[in-house]
């Protein structure tokens, strides 16, 4: 029953922009879907592709990265690194069978609390429509799970 499925979204938010925007959304009492588990990182550029892969492997149905707008990075160019990695990783994830809607990068500045609401609500709806992400167990799993 798809209407009962609540997607788990892992959200990596940068300390200087998107995390503050989520904080602003909270203090402004903006309501949005409770499905995102936010992990604060100092810069979206800190999000190694391994973090995203591990989130998917450990149970995330979607992964969202939030960073400063281009030109606004606290560390000058960290978010450009994020964008480069995102484009290549997005291609890899598509090839491995993870739908594009499950992996998203958004620029959200500290003043855009409302954008946090809009992005998370939109992503939750899209991932909800896709359903849970099936995956192999992380520790190898018994023979039956891989045997043809």
């Amino acid at each position: 029953m798809p209407e009962l499925f609540e997607p788990r979204i892992v959200a990596f938010f940068c300390n200087w922009c998107t995390y503050l925007a989520a904080d602003l959304a909270g203090t402004s009492r903006i309501k949005y879907a409770p499905n995102a588990r936010v992990i604060r990182v100092m810069c979206s550029g800190r999000v190694d592709a391994q973090f995203v892969l591990e989130a998917f492997a450990r149970g995330a149905d979607g992964v969202l990265i939030g960073g400063c707008h281009p030109g606004d990075c606290h560390y000058q160019e960290g978010n450009y690194s994020t964008l480069r990695r995102f484009e290549l990783l997005r291609h890899l994830l598509k090839d491995i069978g993870i739908e594009e809607e499950r992996f998203r990068l958004e620029w959200i500045s500290a003043s855009e609390g409302d954008k946090v609401r809009a992005v998370i609500n939109d992503m939750v709806e899209k991932v909800r429509a896709l359903g849970p992400l099936s995956r192999l167990p992380i520790a190898g799993g018994p023979l039956e799970e891989v045997a043809a």
């Binding site: 391994q50 892969l53 690194s81 043809a148």
Partner: protein
């Protein structure tokens, strides 16, 4: 006279290159053979499964297994070898990380059979015959191994004590491991028996690595005349040296070809492809989507590029079954 220690070699889903690597020990192989008994090595000597079954559990000092696990027979054999052996070494990229056969995890048994036996234009198969695992003949049931949907690394099937990386491991790596084994100098179990730093540190072209890499595009090796003396990444060639464990003596680099990552990750990395992708993505110069996509145009197959030897050992292990055709 004390009995010589016993060694065994076995191959699973592999090309046989690892067995070649044993022969590449050349005359040093004779030293190994004089200080140990090779009790099982189907690729080179005529041993049968019942010979192995007749051995006492734990009677083999060390077994070197090359190849990934993709059939029931391979799984049975490595379980048997595990019980007969005190130590099991994953020998080469395929048993260590999944190797090139691990790229079969982009497909399933049925889709592979479909391609190989019915769609391949050079394979006439008018009756559409596909491999079967059972045949009843003369009131006897004969069985053949079953092919799994998913290729696994050796340590996803049995406990592995040490890993020898490489496609194939160099004779130097193998000889060092055998010497450590005979001299009781092996490190803590679970270790990869190769240096724990990136290939770039050992690279003969290291001094020409640009301080700041910013590429507008990647070039494929056949598209340019590659300079033999300078950093390959600096020339726009996708080289995985920054993410790959050293120990190969930079043989590909010395042959003027880029590193493709067969030695796998260092101990600090959990997912080789993820780390390699992160390292390579960061050298693109562009700052907006169109320019970045243009820079990556020559990386049409990120999985084959970054997980060439390691898809089964990756965090996601395979293409999602739902996405296979």
């Amino acid at each position: 006279m004390a009995q010589k220690p016993k060694l065994a070699f076995y191959w699973c889903a592999a090309c046989g290159g690892c067995d070649e690597a044993v022969l590449d020990l050349e005359e040093k192989l004779l030293d190994v053979a004089s200080s140990a008994d090779i009790v099982f090595w189907p690729a080179a000597l005529d041993f049968k499964r019942h010979d192995l079954e007749a051995m006492t559990d734990g009677s083999i000092l060390a077994t070197f297994v090359s190849g990934a696990i993709r059939t029931t027979e391979q799984e049975e054999m490595v379980r048997l070898l595990r019980s007969k052996s005190q130590l099991v070494f994953a020998f080469g990229s395929c048993s260590h990380l999944g190797g090139v056969p691990g790229l079969a995890n982009l497909w399933t048994r049925d889709t592979i059979f479909q391609t190989v036996y019915t769609e391949n234009p050079s394979t006439p198969n008018v009756d559409g015959t596909l491999p079967q695992t059972n045949i009843g003949e003369d009131r006897r049931e004969l069985g053949l191994p079953t092919f799994f949907d998913t290729v696994r690394t050796l340590d996803q099937v049995v406990a592995v004590d040490y890993y020898l990386p490489g496609c194939p491991p160099t004779p130097k790596i193998l000889l060092a491991a055998v010497n450590q084994l005979f001299n009781g100098q092996l490190p803590e179990k679970g270790a990869v028996l190769a240096p724990d730093h990136a290939l770039c540190e050992d690279c003969p072209r290291r001094d020409s690595h640009p301080d700041h890499l910013a590429l507008d595009e990647f070039k494929r090796p056949q598209e340019i005349l590659i300079d033999e003396g300078t950093c390959l990444l600096g020339q726009g060639i996708l080289c995985l040296g920054p993410a790959t464990r050293a120990g190969c003596e930079a043989q590909c680099i010395k042959g003027n070809m880029p590193c493709t990552g067969c030695f796998g990750p260092t101990s600090r990395v959990r997912d080789f492809g993820g780390k390699a992708l992160s390292a390579i993505a960061s050298v693109a110069a562009a700052k907006e989507e169109a320019g970045i996509l243009r820079a990556f145009e020559n990386i049409p197959d990120p999985i084959g590029t970054f997980y060439r030897y390691s898809l089964p050992s990756s965090l996601l292990k395979r293409r999602r079954l739902e996405a296979v055709r």
